[in-house]
């Protein structure tokens, strides 16, 4: 089975964020970066499918040069090769613009299966996989926890709301967006990290893919959220804060 995994590099979860001077995005210079966690689950699923059914796992990622480190991480975990779509203006493109880049890079590979995370941790659009399926002309399913390959088809477990699930059968090739938690994520081994250096990492310039970058939807401005409630912050040492909180819960909120 030839499996493509589309991954995104995102700011590390705990990295402090500062709004950039133009208020269009955050200051990126001192940020730490990581693989988008739902994409890590997509990669894990791909690696497990390969272990069961043989084949090849190819990682695709779009972004500037720094994305290379996340691609190397995926190769170290076990992906066979990678395609880096070098794109300096990823943030200026909307979900359709980004999916078009990925689709153009994926098409010549003719994969059996395309996996990606259900959403990114930075923009949280949750659309790339679904649009990708549409652009590739393939059936899709989202929020998938388990993938089972039958003869020429797939049986997948889809998460619904409030603790419900559903099984879906679909033909291959197909696109799936993976929910987190279906598998346990593996770490890269030292051997894996060593091997990754010898694996093929092909770069393609976004401009070469002939994709229209004009967005239908634009992010105009970012800002700190307005508070919905006025929070009483209880200061002092841990002990003092704890005592103050218990007092408030007893006498003010009356919930103890």
């Amino acid at each position: 089975m030839k499996i493509i995994v589309a991954i995104k590099q995102v700011p590390e979860r705990d990295a402090p964020v500062r709004i950039a001077a133009n208020a269009k995005w955050i200051e990126e210079r001192e940020l730490q970066w990581a693989m988008n966690e739902p994409d890590a689950y997509a990669l894990e699923e791909a690696l497990q499918l390969k272990e069961k059914h043989n084949g090849e796992v190819i990682v695709v990622s779009a972004g500037p040069e720094r994305v290379g480190s996340t691609i190397r991480e995926a190769l170290a975990k076990g992906a066979d090769r990678a395609i880096h779509i070098v794109c300096e203006d990823l943030g200026g493109r909307d979900a359709l613009g980004v999916a078009k880049l990925l689709a153009e890079a994926i098409k010549p590979e003719n994969p059996d299966l395309v996996l990606t995370g259900l959403q990114s941790e930075d923009l949280g659009l949750g659309q790339t996989g679904v649009i990708l399926a549409e652009l590739l002309g393939l059936p899709h399913a989202t929020l998938i926890l388990h993938v089972e390959k039958t003869d020429a088809a797939l049986k997948v477990k889809r998460e619904l709301e409030e603790g419900w699930f559903q099984e879906i059968e679909m033909p291959l090739p197909a696109v799936l967006t993976m929910q987190s938690g279906g598998n346990k994520l593996r770490y890269a081994t030292l051997m894996g990290i060593k091997r990754a250096k010898t694996k093929e990492l092909r770069t393609v310039n976004a401009a070469e893919l002939g994709v229209d970058a004009a967005p239908a939807v634009t992010l105009e401005q970012i800002a700190a959220p307005k508070k919905q409630k006025s929070t009483q912050i209880l200061g002092g040492s841990a002990k003092e804060a704890a005592a103050a909180l218990v007092e408030k819960l007893k006498t003010e909120a009356r919930v103890l």
Binding site: L143, W164, A223, P225, K229, A241, A253, V255
Partner: protein, 323 residues
Amino acid sequence: MNVLLVLEESGGHIKRVSWEALAAAQRLAPAEDITAVVMGAQTEALAREASAKPVGKVIRVEHPLLAQYTPDGFSLALQQLIQNQNATKWVVFPHTYQVRDYAPALACRMGQVLIGDVIGIEDGPFFTRQLLQGRLNGSYRHSGNGTCFVSVQSGAFRAPESDASATPAPITIFTPMIEPAQIRTKPGEPFRGSAQTVDLGSAQRIVSVGRGIKDAENIPMVQELAAALGAELAASRPICDNGWLPMERQVGSSGQTVAPKLYLAVGISGAIQHLVGMKGSQCIVAINKDPDAPIFEVADYGIVGDLFEVVPALTEAVKAAKA
């Protein structure tokens, strides 16, 4: 400026979040320009329910192949409906798992991009949605021509009341052309996960733990606090993903929705998927080391600090108060 409002049903009734989407639609156009859309194989009762709301008209998009939701069936049917309508400027959806599954493909088919998970609409219109797990808000604009697709986060808009005395909106039927071969996926019947033995929904007090706890072996510390408070223990998604607590203790869009008297969030940053499951709680307390964590936006009381110091101190203080 015509609006198509796509309603979603569950168990034969329109979901409440669909009416919240109606409130969002009202920000874009007056009621008479809003067309409510119900979809399925038998939609008469749903249409009647919709016609009692402040909308201009109701369209039943009906076809035997829409009996069960599939992304192919719903995209195809709505694409045909939009093309059949006169100049639809907006298509508004509730932001449900189902909508996330097909609306991006539908928008793409029409050369558009869904503005998803919207929590506010400002004059312009500018659509507010959350970024970086709720740490920032982004203001989005539809820059192209043509139809704009918008989905609305649950709990962000207040659903308008039905007016029993008003004349019901007129109802028409639209029959899309769908061939069985066009539906490529075969959905099974929904089923419950593991047997639910924990009913967080009826708990008076909940102590909920998140990523900040760092390791499974630290969970007992939070368990002790829960025991001291007489509270149920719950968690955000990553804790259950890691198998540190069972899935049935998960609060949020994919877990349980709770509204206890006291909700104490320990080391939970407060991504929107978690907040939708608990923000109706009467009193919310957050303990987190990051003063900018979005959980503080909904908290009544907060302690900014190291949970490994605060939680044991709080357990002691609760015990002392009860003694």
